[in-house]
């Protein structure tokens, strides 16, 4: 992109007047490529704010269709989208907010077969997926390809956000080396989730993405931000890289992707 159109200068004026963003920063945003894993609870606010902010290239992976029970929290979608592809519905919402954005849809389930092909066109991965097998697959693929992963997860009234930047900080396996065994960790489908919670956590993920692209502030690298809605409390814990980590440690044992079976919580529908 050579220069802004008049409409773009007006659209992004509140960014451009911020010294931390400016015209230069806005251009970086417009040239950036961000992939969202899931157009669901976390992906909804993240996608909408990133589109509004002018992230020029957004990829969305989701093979699911919109269900009435999604509307309690998945603000990308509306009543008229019930039964439609979430990816298509997300694209329509993005275009209604900001037609500048180039949107690429992947209506497929992420696996070791397709993850490299999909990831190669993006700089930052926003992980808002809903299951452990995908979390581990995404983590390992990010480490093996050097992509930054902006991680968010939610459960009932609790949310967690962090940034896994290969080499600069720990990865998901430094935190939790192996996925939990079946049945020990309840899923959101079983336990419920406050509908606003993904709004908070997904929005925090969007903030981290923008900070990383602009190179401003202190991204949540090596820090786990915890939010509890009932206590109205935010806290940060320190995360350290584990030299014995099986994927990003000094002597990694995982050099290829692993497709874990659906082993925990309950099977997806």
């Amino acid at each position: 992109m050579s220069s802004f159109t008049e409409e773009q200068i007006y659209r992004y004026s509140r960014h451009i007047i911020l010294p931390e963003v400016g015209g230069k920063g806005q251009k970086k945003l417009l040239e950036s490529r961000v992939l969202l894993l899931g157009a669901g609870g976390l992906g909804s606010p993240a996608t909408m704010y990133l589109a509004a902010a002018g992230i020029g290239n957004l990829g969305i992976i989701d093979f699911d269709v919109v269900d009435m029970s999604n509307l309690q929290r998945q603000i990308l979608h509306g009543v008229e989208d019930i039964g439609r592809s979430k990816a298509e519905s997300a694209k329509d919402t993005i275009k209604s907010i900001n037609p500048d954005i180039k949107v690429t849809l992947y209506k497929e389930r992420l696996s070791s077969e397709n993850i490299y092909r999909i990831f190669k066109d993006y700089d930052i991965i926003v992980d808002g997926c809903d299951n452990f097998p995908t979390r581990y697959l995404v983590n390992d693929a990010c480490i093996l390809t050097g992509k930054t992963n902006v991680h968010g997860s939610i459960f009932r009234f609790d949310g967690q956000v962090t940034v896994f930047k290969p080499k600069d900080g720990p990865c998901y396996r430094c935190l939790y080396p192996e996925p939990p065994p079946a049945g020990l960790v309840p899923s959101c489908q079983e336990a419920g989730v406050l509908g606003v919670l993904p709004g908070i956590i997904g929005t925090l993920q969007a903030v981290e993405v923008i900070k990383l692209i602009l190179g401003i502030g202190k991204p949540l690298i090596g820090k786990l931000l915890l939010y509890n809605a009932l206590d109205a409390e935010f806290r940060q814990l320190r995360l350290r890289r584990d030299v014995n980590c099986p994927v990003c440690g000094d002597n990694p044992t995982i050099k290829e992707l692993i497709d874990y079976e659906e082993f925990c919580g309950i099977a997806r529908h």
Binding site: C129, R135, P180, P186, D231, D242, R268
Partner: protein, 93 residues
Amino acid sequence: MAVKVRIPSPLQKLTKNQSEVSANGKNIKELFSDLEKQYPGLRDRIYDESGSLRRFINVYINEEDIRFLKGEESEVKDWDDVSIIPAIAGGVS
């Protein structure tokens, strides 16, 4: 004075729905033994069959992961804030 222990929501059924409980002990091991006395069943959720802390659960003293301190021997002082943080996967599809 006792140490404050934050209980994650999946385990709160065992602590009478309390998100914070207090426990006594000079290190994490003693603290968790005391917790088991107060709230039977908690130990099995935190430790695996071999008696090790489960790998999808991390324990922090204040902001620091005990794996990078002295593990379960990590000492706790009055007013320390101990958190049990399990892996959560939900993004809600």
